[in-house]
């Protein structure tokens, strides 16, 4: 074998090797798609871009809730250098244990190159202070958005957002499959009702990541990304200054205030007391604060304004009077004596007509009126059947006042109170075993009747409107749209003709001028109101008052319910009066009255 042959053999070998390589590479690179798919999978991750959650304004454009930036301090263990632990901790306001604990946690999770949050949600103020002098390697401040409330009011109505739980996720998945684990969702209040409008639409960034999970830029320079769409801003019907005033008045009292604009059904203010500062549930300490609030015996997380069912007490007499007139069994000149053998009453002239019965809130009058409404001889032979038929008729009227069922406002978790069906009494006493004397407590708003404060305010609005209402609501407009949700623009009629209301208006004015609520009197504002004192078997009676004003052009309808405050005229009426004055005049002309309310402590008592 000569040299030439040997060289040829080696060249053939070389060409052979090269051809094998190129063939192999052809299959790897051109023929097979497996590796291309694998490559994009390994290196590209989908990263969600969270949209800016919509913010909420009050009716005059003041901020109710907005987003604020907080900072997570992230630590990359591999690069982190802390030469002076004491100074480091002092600067950040943490203790050494926290640092050690988080470091151990990062190690346990194998986060050596991947950032680990050392401090979550540092406030903007603290960040501003720390940022300039913070010179440690391997740390990074990462901005994040959280909800913030500039006022500390309206907590239960605004609600809060928190991480979605498994049940909520499963429920939402049946319709849209939007949420992911760890997403925030509106849990209560407006945040919950308007979740869809507020949350916006999430965007996606395709991020290239290296083998350690460290980001290396955008996939295809971001051409595949989708932008996040910010949520809609909402304008509320709430009058923030009235709201805050109401909350102030209700300090140290248990109960609620709901104020509506009768002509629209817009909620001007909705106070529940005691409440909490909404900022407590917005930051890093959500769970800690939530637990404290939940354990509080005064239940600050309980929205009494829309959830607490109370006996309405004497304010219900207004409904009775109207139904009686509609049914034709009560006339303006229907006189009854105050027969205290039927039911207790208090000192006032007797006998009295319909107008006076409201003005003086006479109990026996309404006992008799109730009997007249229920026993209209629809069945002449059987008194029991007659009562049942009358009750059914009566109940239909009562329901038309927005009682006995949820109003359908936009506040989440609303309750509807109770106006019992006949089946309830049939079950309780037996069929055809009950008559008016059995259920007479209902005549004066006691007994089985239960009403929620927002329904009481709505009742005041109905009377102010002379027979109709709009479903109470807190949001006027969503985004750029100035049109309200349809259900809030539909007039809801009661079954009582508007002609019957004038008498009630006049009588309610006299309640203030010369009746049971003289403390609510204001010399310049013609307030129409009605007191109530709901009997409370567990303690002091509840103090109730509903009102609207001004009489000839109602701008505000209000219900005040103060638990264990005794007589309706004592606490509830002056609070309502102050609220009315505040809303109409934006100032208070009766500092003595205000002082009396502010200093009243009905909890410690």
């Amino acid at each position: 074998m000569n040299e030439r042959t040997r060289i040829s053999i080696v060249i053939i070998l070389l060409v052979l090797v090269s051809s094998i390589f190129l063939t192999r590479l052809f299959f790897l690179q051109v023929k097979s798609t497996e590796y291309k798919i694998k490559a994009t999978k390994v290196t590209t991750i989908k990263k969600d871009v969270y949209p800016y959650r919509g913010i909420i304004y009050d009716r005059y454009g003041k901020l109710l809730v907005y987003n604020t930036t907080v900072y997570d301090l992230q630590m990359v263990l591999k690069k982190a250098k802390i030469p002076d632990t004491a100074r480091f901790c002092e600067l950040l306001g943490i203790d050494k244990e926290h640092l050690l604990k988080e470091t151990a946690k990062a190690k346990k999770l194998f986060r050596y190159r991947v950032p680990h949050p050392l401090i979550k949600q540092m406030s903007k103020e603290r960040y501003a202070k720390v940022q300039d002098i913070f010179d440690y390697e391997g740390f990074e401040f990462v901005p994040k958005l959280v909800r913030e409330y500039p006022h500390g009011s309206l907590a239960n109505t605004l609600g809060y957002i928190a991480e979605i739980n498994a049940r909520e996720k499963a429920k939402s998945d049946t319709t849209e499959r939007y949420y992911k684990r760890g997403d925030y969702i509106g849990k209560k209040g407006l945040e919950r009702t308007y979740e869809r409008e507020l949350r916006g639409i999430r965007g996606v960034n395709y991020i290239l990541r290296d083998v350690h999970g460290i980001e290396k830029g955008r996939f295809a320079d971001g051409r595949a990304d989708t932008l996040a769409v910010a949520g809609y801003n909402l304008q509320s019907t709430i009058n923030l200054s009235l709201q805050q005033y109401g909350e102030q008045l209700m300090v140290n009292k248990i109960g609620s205030i709901v104020a509506l604009e009768p002509s629209t059904g817009e909620i001007l203010s909705i106070v529940t007391s005691p409440s909490y500062n909404p900022n407590l549930l917005a930051g890093e300490n959500f769970s800690k604060n939530y637990n404290v609030l939940q354990k509080d015996s005064l239940k600050p997380l309980y929205d009494r304004a829309t959830r607490a069912s109370y006996p309405p007490g004497s304010i219900f007499k207004l409904v009775q009077a109207l139904i009686g007139m509609q049914e034709g069994v009560l006339k303006p000149n229907t006189y009854f004596t105050c027969d205290r053998s039927l039911v207790g009453c208090h000192g006032h002239p007797s006998p009295l007509n319909l107008h006076q019965s409201i003005q003086h809130s006479c109990n026996p009058y309404y006992y008799k009126a109730f009997k007249k409404i229920l026993n209209q001889k629809l069945d002449a032979k059987n008194q029991f059947i007659d009562t049942r038929l009358g009750y059914e008729k009566w109940r239909k009227h009562v329901l038309s006042f927005g009682l006995g069922q949820k109003l359908g406002s936009d506040i989440s978790h609303e309750k509807g109170g109770a106006v019992r069906k006949t089946s309830f009494y049939n079950k309780w006493y037996g069929e055809n075993r009950w008559k008016v004397s059995t259920i007479y407590s209902n005549a004066i708003g006691q007994g089985e009747l239960l009403v929620v404060p927002i329904q009481m305010a709505n009742l005041a609005a109905i009377i102010a409107n002379k027979g109709h209402y709009y479903i109470p609501h807190t949001i006027k407009s969503i985004g750029d749209s100035t049109v309200k949700l349809k259900r809030f623009m539909e007039k809801q009629y009661t079954t009582v003709d508007s002609s019957h209301f004038q008498l009630v208006h006049d009588a309610m004015e006299d309640v203030i001028k010369a009746g049971t609520a003289r403390r609510a009197y204001h010399k310049d504002i013609r307030i129409c109101g009605k007191t109530g004192t709901a009997q409370n078997p567990h303690g002091e009676d509840h103090s109730v008052f509903i009102a609207f004003a001004p009489k000839d052009d109602p701008k505000i309808a209000i219900a005040v319910y103060v638990e264990n405050a005794g007589y309706g005229g004592t606490w509830a009426a002056p609070i309502a009066s102050l609220m009315i004055e505040k809303h109409l005049n934006d100032s208070i002309s009766r500092p003595y009255l205000e002082k009396y309310i502010l200093e009243g402590d009905l909890i410690k008592k």
């Binding site: 040299e3 590796y35 083998v211």
Partner: protein, 478 residues
């Protein structure tokens, strides 16, 4: 003056252009492999690898000039001294002068630079065997003292490297000198047997041994038929054996054959044929062919034994991984899976310079050193692969052809060495990166990051260019 001119005229510009093209491509690739957009690093920034590699390139240019300028006789004088210096340097790695990079203690720190003696050892061996064979009168390959001395010069170094650094890759490259000796006249039988045995061994891992054995026997039968006339006179014996062979092949497709039964059957046939021919005609070629068939058939059966009892566990692992990378996706297999994915994602045209997502993402370990070919595959696609492989092929063939025109044995042996060393690095490195060969950590010449390697290859090639320039004078000297 005239003489000077003729020397510069003799320089082989094609080799130099090929060298420069590969070196510049390599440097750009390292820059891309290291490149991270956030760092905004310059290609010349000494802090980063591309910058360092650039200084090595500058360094190489100085070296090139020196090589081209100094008297060529110098290269005849230094080999043994150089060889000894390198041996000392390899041992010095263990001394305090030695430094570890990436867990591998293979560098010597000379303060102003670090270098890897093993990279220069190949050069030392090439020069030394060239000098030895050239200076030994009447050198002949065979079972003689001189041949043993040559083999000694060659194999002492890898044994030392293995002993000192436990670096299989660097040691393995010395096997390339077999090709040198073959080109120089060593009987082809030895390398051929080696290649065939290794080929069958590797094939038996990939292919069902049944088919492999049938293949070997079939090949031998064909060989007998076409090359040995005597077989044709006794065609019926051959036909019988072939019929049996076809039967076994057809049978094997339907039934899971027990290898041992098959071997027993085939061995019977072969031995019958053997006995038959031995009795009738003592043709050595026929007999030896049949014997070879028997021996070769036994290799696939011994594969398991070699794999399990002779190889070290980590070597076994590497062979397993080569056959099935998924078997060890987090260990050695990781590199192979990742590098295949990176290359595979390149497609026909690649993702573009500095656009390789895998390259950017640090997914392939040793991306800028041993696995640098991934960057080419990913960023420049199959077209890039063809370009690089073709350039290497042209360079290698050019080196062979240049060697062939050398008149002196020294230059010839040296030229074959340069060729063989480059060829082995090229073959083993790319074969490893695309998952055809086990993971053996040796660099791809001019592309892999590493000053010593680049510098050593440069010197190696330019010494040859220098020798080529003076080929007429060297002859005169002889």
């Amino acid at each position: 003056m005239r003489r000077e001119n003729s020397i510069w005229k003799n320089i082989d510009w094609l080799t130099i252009i090929l060298f420069l093209t590969l070196a510049i491509m390599g440097w750009l690739n390292i820059y891309s492999a290291i490149y991270t957009p956030e760092l905004d690093q310059s290609m010349f920034d000494f802090q980063y690898q591309p910058g360092k590699q650039f200084t090595w390139i500058c360094f190489s240019v100085i070296t090139i000039s020196s090589i081209l300028v100094i008297d060529f006789n110098f290269f005849f004088k230094v080999p043994y001294l150089f060889y000894i210096v390198i041996l000392v340097a390899i041992v010095l790695v263990l001394s305090p002068l030695g430094v570890s990079v990436g867990g591998n203690r293979a560098w010597i720190d000379l303060k102003f630079m670090r270098f890897q003696p093993a990279e220069f050892a190949k050069l030392a061996v090439a020069l030394s065997i060239a000098k030895f064979i050239d200076s030994t009168t009447k050198f002949r390959y065979g079972l003689n003292k001189d041949t043993m001395k040559v083999l000694g010069i060659i194999f002492f170094v890898p044994i030392l490297i293995l002993g000192v650094q436990k670096d299989t890759g660097s040691a393995l490259v010395f096997a390339c000198f077999i090709v040198v000796l073959f080109l120089d006249g060593l009987s082809f039988v030895i390398p051929l047997v080696g290649i065939v045995l290794a080929g069958i061994f590797v094939s038996s891992l990939l292919v069902n041994p049944v088919y492999l054995i049938l293949g070997i026997i079939g090949f031998c039968q064909l060989f007998l038929f076409f090359f040995i006339k005597k077989v044709k006179s006794e065609l019926w014996v051959w036909s019988l054996a072939t019929a049996l062979w076809v039967g076994a092949l057809a049978f094997s497709q339907y039934i899971e054959l027990n290898v041992l039964y098959l071997i027993a059957g085939e061995v019977t046939v072969v031995i019958t044929m053997l006995v038959f021919f031995l009795l009738r005609d003592k043709s050595t070629l026929v007999v030896s062919t049949l014997c070879i068939a028997l021996v070769l058939s036994s290799i696939p059966l011994s594969t398991d034994y070699i794999l399990n009892d002779i190889l070290q566990p980590h070597q076994k692992k590497r062979i397993e991984v080569m056959i099935n990378p998924e078997s060890d996706p987090k260990g050695v297999g990781w590199n192979v899976i990742q590098s295949k994915t990176a290359i595979g994602s390149g497609g026909l045209w690649g993702t573009g310079y500095q656009q390789g997502t895998f390259t950017k993402g640090d997914y392939v370990p040793e991306q800028h050193t041993d696995f640098i070919f991934c960057t080419i595959g990913e960023e420049h696609g199959w077209v890039g692969s063809i370009t690089v492989i073709t350039l290497f092929m042209i360079l290698l063939i050019r080196l062979l052809l240049l060697t062939n025109r050398q008149r002196s044995r020294f230059a010839k042996i040296y030229g074959y060495s340069v060729f063989s060393i480059l060829f082995f690095h090229f073959m083993i490195n790319i074969g490893m990166v695309i998952g055809l060969l086990p993971v053996i950590g040796i660099p791809l010449p001019f592309f892999s990051y590493g000053g010593s390697s680049l510098w050593a290859f440069t010197i190696m090639i330019f010494i040859f260019i220098k020798l080529d320039m003076h080929r007429t004078q060297i002859l005169a000297r002889g």
